[in-house]
Amino acid sequence: MNNFLKREFLLFFNIPKNIYLPLSIYSIVFVIFIALGLPDDFKFANVFISSFITVFIISESSYKDDFESGAIEQMLFEDKNLISYVLSKLLIQTVFVFFPMLIIGLLFSGLPQNLSLAQFSVSYLACLLTLSPFFNLGSIVSIRKNNSLNALIIIPFLVPFIFLIEGLFISGQWNPNFYFLMAYFVFSIVFINLLVVEVIKIQIR
């Protein structure tokens, strides 16, 4: 795990586009929504639509470079732990991309009425960390087909998620939406990531 964390950290550190590209996309979509002057009801919709688009775009290239360069094939045949690889990628992405997205969101949209700073931060990061494995799964399933299936595959998983987001951030109902979100988060982090690893193995073999 330690070696994979170092690898992912160095990849982000040495290739700045891995950080500034998703943050630029996020900011641009965000600014477009602000420029449209939408009513207050849409105040947090822009945060989540920008986040959806950004996570979707990041996921397109999450594994693509390593897949095309042969790095994943090498890891697989050298019997390295692919779960550690997948989780390290997610962790470093959280630090370098998701956390700055949270700060940008807070700076421009403030807090929802019924949520404290801690509640908003935890639930927003949980949202991103739930979404990311779903999009990554779509990306890796269709990696040999230029990711064209990515959006289609994850739609069924996203429907309940969208209702949770609406309940938590727009309607401001912490209970029970947050607990459902946590359940979805655990499902995504554990099960979907395991599925991602299995699909990687199938794609390589």
Partner: protein, 189 residues
């Protein structure tokens, strides 16, 4: 001679095309095994199957350390990074002596996307040579290399065998003396 992996009567089809029919292979320890064959004969496929077998500890009849250093068709290098940075990703420092022997040490601060195909291949090979593992598995290691480089690589191979290592590779170009050759044309359908 002890066997590292044994495949018996393997049948393998891809999209209804028969790649292997009753194919058998024995890979011995402490020697070079070359899998030779025409394009599309299944050299890469058999290497992948062997990797899986060895990783899963199937058909292993030896107590040797089973860790593998693998080099596929691709070099597994990040194009935007330098040679040195690529080695840092693998938590490795460049072995100066070996890199000089392969005539690539001077490229250490060059970005991979500025290098030639052969130079990239040599960098990828250096990672294998520095890996400290006994078993090296390589898919077409000589592709894109000039004659001098091929000679150097062969010397490193022979040194590895002297150090009780094992090499398994697919190859359709250079001939390696003192290696066990498996010709897929003769064994496939």
């Amino acid at each position: 001679m002890k066997a590292l992996a044994i495949i018996n009567n393997l049948n393998y089809k891809v999209d209804e095309k028969c790649i292997f029919k009753k194919f058998s292979l024995r890979v011995n320890l402490n020697e070079i095994t070359e899998i030779r064959g025409r394009n599309g004969s299944g050299k890469t496929t058999i290497l992948k199957i062997l990797c899986r077998e060895i990783s899963n500890n199937l058909s292993i009849s030896s107590s040797q350390d089973n860790s593998i250093a693998y080099l596929g068709h691709q070099n597994a290098l990040i194009e935007e990074l330098t040679f040195k940075q690529n080695f840092s990703l693998n938590i490795m420092n460049i072995d100066k002596t070996l890199a000089k022997q392969m005539n690539i040490f001077h490229l250490r601060n060059q970005k991979i996307n500025n290098l030639s195909f052969g130079e990239k291949r040599k960098i990828a090979l250096l990672r294998i040579f520095q890996s400290q593992t006994k078993l090296w598995i390589m898919d077409e290691p000589f592709s894109g290399l000039d004659t001098d480089s091929v000679t150097t690589i062969k010397e490193i191979f022979f040194q590895h065998i002297k150090n009780k290592g094992t090499i398994l590779l697919s190859n359709h170009q250079e001939t390696i003396s003192n290696s066990t050759k498996v010709h897929l044309e003769d064994l496939g359908e």
